[in-house]
């Protein structure tokens, strides 16, 4: 029994045009431009604190850019949110599960509040996705009793169950052991291939980027200068990108030596 509708909606494209965002004096995003093609997986990489999560929040419509436009299939994001034309699913870095209700209720909330299916159907769908993520034993636990990695997978389940047109991930593989991380990567790839929703992933994980990323961008100085593919990123000429992918480890770094003098 497939849970996801086979006659799926046509994948959407995302266009980001000159988006800026600053917090007080701190400019985080500066004239960022990006195009994501329908149905592809775009992986956005970059070191900690460059504004990847901020970017994703803007894309999910949780925050507004100071300047610039975001459009989905040529409809502005504001309109999309207002008219509910396209569904945007966001899987948060720390899960952001509702702590006062059980895992099952967390997953059922979207269906119940929008009155999409009856209880039997909701249960069927939830347990199918939980099985897929190897979480079937956690359905009636409270989120506070889950490990960090389990919370992430539940959050992923919540995102998938929404059957979104655009699926956004904030660091889906951080805090996971390599095996679980690999299975999450496989799952994201599988879902994208079979359901074809446009996917944007923010991650530091080069394994993820190389395996499932259709296009890969590296954020630098608040913008994305060049977009790579899994093949081209490994021979990128940009020093910043090279350093990010192959950090040199120097135990004799001058900054540390100064601690001793």
């Amino acid at each position: 029994m497939p849970i996801f509708d086979q006659h799926r909606k046509a994948p959407v494209s995302i266009k980001i045009n000159g988006v800026c965002k600053a917090f007080g004096e701190r400019i985080v995003l500066n004239q960022l431009n990006l195009e994501v093609n329908p149905g592809e997986i775009f992986v956005l990489m970059g070191p900690s604190g460059v504004g990847k999560s901020v970017f994703l929040k803007l894309l999910a419509g949780l925050d507004r850019p100071d300047a610039g436009h975001i459009t989905i299939n040529r409809t502005s994001l504001d309109r999309v949110k207002k008219t509910n034309k396209y569904v945007l699913g966001l899987v948060f870095q720390a899960g952001a599960l509702f702590n006062s209700i059980s895992v099952f209720d967390n997953l059922a909330l979207y269906f119940r509040e929008h009155a999409l299916y009856d209880e039997a159907e909701i249960e069927k769908r939830i347990f199918q996705v939980l099985h897929m993520l190897n979480l079937q034993n956690t359905a009636f636990l409270m989120p506070s009793n889950l490990s960090g990695g389990m919370k992430k997978r539940v959050a992923l389940a919540r995102g998938l169950l929404m059957e979104p047109d655009v699926l956004l991930f904030d660091e889906p593989t951080s805090e996971l052991d390599p095996m679980t991380a690999a299975s999450i990567i496989e799952l994201i790839g599988f879902v994208n291939k079979n359901l074809g929703m446009t996917t944007v992933i923010v991650s530091h994980d080069i394994i993820l980027a190389k395996n499932i990323g259709t296009h890969i961008g590296v954020i630098q100085n608040g913008k994305i200068d060049e977009v790579y593919t899994a093949q081209t990123i490994m021979c990128a000429k940009n020093e910043y990108v090279k350093n990010f992918l192959n950090p040199t480890i120097n135990l004799e770094h001058p900054n540390f030596l100064s601690l001793l003098s």
Binding site: K57, L90, A94, A96, L97, F98, N99, L109, Y110, E113
Partner: protein, 247 residues
């Protein structure tokens, strides 16, 4: 400045809650849950404090009136009216702030700090509909019951003092008769109107402050304090003006 923002947002929430009322059928169960939860938390403490409040009131006034011959026959009306017009609603409001308002702020603030509110928004679910409206209605449902309970226990507290303390020369029957004579439906009504206004203020204020908390545990604590202080000030200020209007 921040205070103004809190008030402004509380009014926005009021308006939004109003608009969300059309989704009430699906939220009805949540309203009842919140209402029961508030009642469960507040009934015992309201009872105990009201009993003492009525007793103290009877003792103080009874003692002051003891050298005015015949004045003590009005003790029932004094306790009765003070409780139902002023002390009942006011004390219930303060206890609701302490037990319920602070809890609401803490809960919503931590939901906001841990991105649960953002998660709701990405699911196209309105936080006002799911979190604020049920609490507001729950509070409005429970407050009149709590206030009536407070009034009655205050009267009983007064009666108990009248019966047991020697300085007060009247008997229980006189107390109740005087109370019945002066406490009319209008007084009870005015008290309940006040109580509902307080309840609305408490819940909206605590939701407003809670939902706009960003950061971590420290900010959550600060928000709870801010709810307590601001709501108490708001209640007393409103009390003055509402009393003036109703008199």
């Amino acid at each position: 400045m921040k205070v103004l923002k809190d008030w402004q947002y509380a009014f926005v929430l009021l308006w939004q809650t109003f608009k969300e009322l059309r989704y009430l059928p699906r939220q009805w169960q949540r309203c009842i849950e919140h209402s029961c939860n508030m009642g469960y938390k507040t009934f015992p403490i309201v009872g105990i404090l009201s009993l003492f409040m009525g007793g103290i009131l009877a003792l103080q006034t009874g003692y002051s009136l003891s050298n005015l011959p015949g004045a003590q026959t009005f003790l029932g009306s004094i306790v009765g009216l003070s409780m139902c017009r002023e002390l009942g609603p006011l004390m219930t409001a303060f206890l609701l702030t302490g037990r319920v308002g602070s809890a609401i702020t803490a809960e919503l603030a931590s939901m906001s700090a841990y991105q649960e509110i953002d998660a709701l928004k990405t699911m196209n679910l309105s936080p006002t509909r799911l979190l604020v409206m049920p609490r507001v209605l729950g509070g409005l449902l429970m407050m009149p019951l709590l206030t009536m309970f407070s009034n009655v226990l205050g009267w009983i507290g007064g009666w108990f003092v009248v019966k047991t303390v020697d300085v007060i020369s009247i008997d229980g029957g006189t107390y109740w008769r005087s109370l019945q004579q002066f406490v009319d439906l209008d007084s009870l009504n005015d008290g309940l109107v006040k109580a509902e206004i307080f309840a609305l203020t408490i819940i909206l204020m605590s939701c407003s402050i809670g939902l706009r908390t960003f950061g971590g545990p420290r900010e959550i604590g600060a928000s709870v304090t801010s709810t307590l202080v601001q709501t108490m000030i708001a209640i007393l200020t409103l009390d003055y003006f509402v009393t003036k209007l109703l008199l």
